[in-house]
């Protein structure tokens, strides 16, 4: 089956957020999405960082015809910039982000970097007559964090208005959520495949969008967040072999974030262990 977008109307599609080099989770998610009848697969960027062997994820994405939107990681690695442009402001967050970035940049083949440079910053498609705008952080900035607790309804309505969209699909925060707005618009943060959702569980998440079954009395797309179990212990072994920080490995094994915490808003921070 070819999962690439086809000329016929899309009824069901899968959307993957930051993969952070977690090739095992990506493999599991692709298989899961195809089993669930996804006609197209999309990835919203940040393919590298955090995990091991950064060449594996781009290879899997291309092999399965996944349409990829550029994240800040692809912009940085693709252009050999000095840092990941993740948008952290705290020294500890930045320290760990730099370790992940330096490893990823050093281990990404030139051919992959060239591909990263060609990726679009945003993409548009139609599902069920609704105009979807796919982006990494937000439609206005690649590394803007759209957290649930700091993305209020009036602000999201404004983003939809300003960018002529009915639905915004994004990632970058690593935490999945969605909001149906009074206007009927929707904003969906698909979360991340790269690391767990800071909830003490080791599985990761992606979003499946389906036309025509908009629940809760809305005319919108049905959004299902799908948990993906994968061989996280194998990933942890890989990470240790690659001498990535033990703090990263701990997150994979426990489901609790240990780094890049300071950027979390109060509500999301209170929900975690650290």
């Amino acid at each position: 089956m070819n999962p690439a977008p086809s000329p016929s109307p899309l009824a069901r599609a899968a959307f993957f957020g930051g993969v952070y080099s977690n090739y095992l989770a990506l493999e599991a998610a692709i298989g899961d999405a195809l089993r669930r009848g996804a006609q197209a697969l999309f990835c919203l960027g940040d393919l590298g960082g955090f995990g091991p062997h950064p060449a594996k994820v781009p290879s899997l994405l291309r092999q399965h015809g996944v349409m990829v939107v550029q994240g800040n990681y692809e912009d940085s690695v693709g252009h050999d910039r000095d840092d990941c442009q993740c948008g952290y402001t705290d020294p500890r967050d930045n320290l760990f982000a730099q370790v992940a970035y330096d490893y990823t940049r050093a281990n990404t083949p030139a051919e992959v970097k060239a591909w990263y440079r060609t990726l679009p910053a945003t993409a548009r498609l139609t599902m069920g007559g609704r105009r979807l705008l796919l982006c990494h952080g937000s439609p206005r900035r690649q590394n803007e964090f759209l957290w649930k607790s700091t993305s209020p309804v009036p602000f999201l309505e404004r983003l939809l208005r300003d960018h002529a969209a009915d639905v915004i699909v994004c990632t970058h925060t690593g935490l999945h959520w969605d909001r149906v707005l009074p206007s009927g618009g929707q904003v969906i943060n698909v979360g991340a495949l790269g690391r767990p959702a800071n909830d003490g569980n080791t599985h990761v998440w992606y979003a499946l969008l389906t036309v025509g079954t908009g629940g809760a009395g809305t005319a919108g797309l049905q959004v299902d967040f799908i948990p993906v179990a994968y061989d996280h212990e194998r990933l942890a072994r890989d990470m240790r072999q690659e001498r990535l920080p033990e703090e990263f490995v701990e997150t994979i094994l426990t489901g609790w974030w240990t780094t890049c915490l300071e950027i979390l808003p109060a509500r999301e921070r209170e929900a975690g262990r650290f």
Binding site: T150, P152, P154, E157, A266, E268
Partner: protein
């Protein structure tokens, strides 16, 4: 006694910042009224400074309605000392219904009961509530010299009460003493917070703005402390909070929370009429640009 609107000295030579869109709204809910009389306060707040007054819940609601129409993303409640406003808690609830809120406080009103109420309010909202507590050093020796005897210990008590209610307050420390830049006092302070149940406190270091009381405590701005067009970049200007924020007091809408005592800082009566470029002609603009600081958390 409203000042002139948008009259900016030196406007013809200074750089100008574009308004990219209103993300952040500061509400001076306590005006310039404060229980303290800090000797470095950039707007000289005190118990008897009523130049900007207390904001009523009704006034706040009016601003919130306009903010919703403009798609504001986040709100900051400040003063003066916001907890001096008797309507603060209903104001907070109303604002938190519309978006995430940060309350700036000197920490002296954060008793056990108040922190319990704040937890209830926070849990009742979809949006984040942050409490931001300001200090002027890592210990009483610096802090109390600015804020008055005994204020450091009482502030720490307030921080503990917040921690007991599962808040992780943002703690701002002003660069008022040389020791703020050093590691010794900082690590002692962090250890102290750890013992209060805040192993990883969120710290934000703020520069001094040499206006208001601070202009007479040490010094005001020198003539060279001004921005010129050739010294700024588009990226640097876009990072300034005045490119995405505005501030409301009982006297009107201002460009930012710092320039509310500058007549040229006042941009209009309503938010919608202030979404235009602003000339960065003040010494405070120099501080923001050079230090890269934003008043946002």
């Amino acid at each position: 006694m409203n000042g002139p609107i948008g009259v900016v000295p030196g406007e013809n030579t200074c750089p100008s910042v574009e308004m990219a869109g209103l993300d952040t709204l500061w509400l001076y809910v306590a005006g310039t009224i404060c229980n303290l009389r800090c000797t470095h306060c950039f707007i000289s707040c005190s118990p008897d400074n009523h130049s900007h007054g207390m904001m009523t819940l009704r006034e706040v609601r009016t601003h919130l309605e306009e903010a919703a129409r403009l798609g504001v993303r986040e709100y900051y409640l400040t003063g003066g000392e916001p907890f001096m406003n008797r309507e603060l808690l209903p104001i907070l609830e109303a604002t938190l219904r519309q978006g995430p809120v940060t309350v700036l406080t000197n920490g002296l009103f954060l008793d056990i009961k108040t922190c319990g109420i704040l937890r209830t309010i926070a849990d009742g909202s979809d949006y984040s509530l942050d409490l931001r507590v300001s200090l002027d050093g890592w210990g009483p020796e610096d802090h109390d010299a600015i804020r008055g005897p005994g204020t450091f210990v009482r502030c720490i008590e307030g921080i503990r009460n917040l921690a007991d209610q599962r808040f992780i307050p943002v703690i701002t420390v002003t660069e008022v003493a040389a020791s703020v830049g050093g590691s010794e006092g900082r690590s002692r302070f962090l250890k102290r917070l750890g013992s209060l149940g805040l192993p990883r406190p969120r710290l934000k270091i703020l520069p001094l703005w040499r206006i208001g009381a601070e202009a007479t405590r040490l010094r005001g701005y020198e003539p060279w402390e001004r921005l010129s067009r050739d010294a700024v970049t588009d990226e640097g200007l876009a990072a300034l909070q005045c490119s995405t924020g505005r501030t409301v007091t009982t006297r009107g809408v201002y460009v930012c929370p710092i320039l509310i005592d500058e007549p040229g800082g006042r941009m209009g009566e309503t938010l919608g009429k202030t979404l235009r470029p602003f000339g960065l002609s003040y010494g405070a603009c120099h501080t923001c640009y050079v230090s890269g600081v934003t008043c946002r958390t």
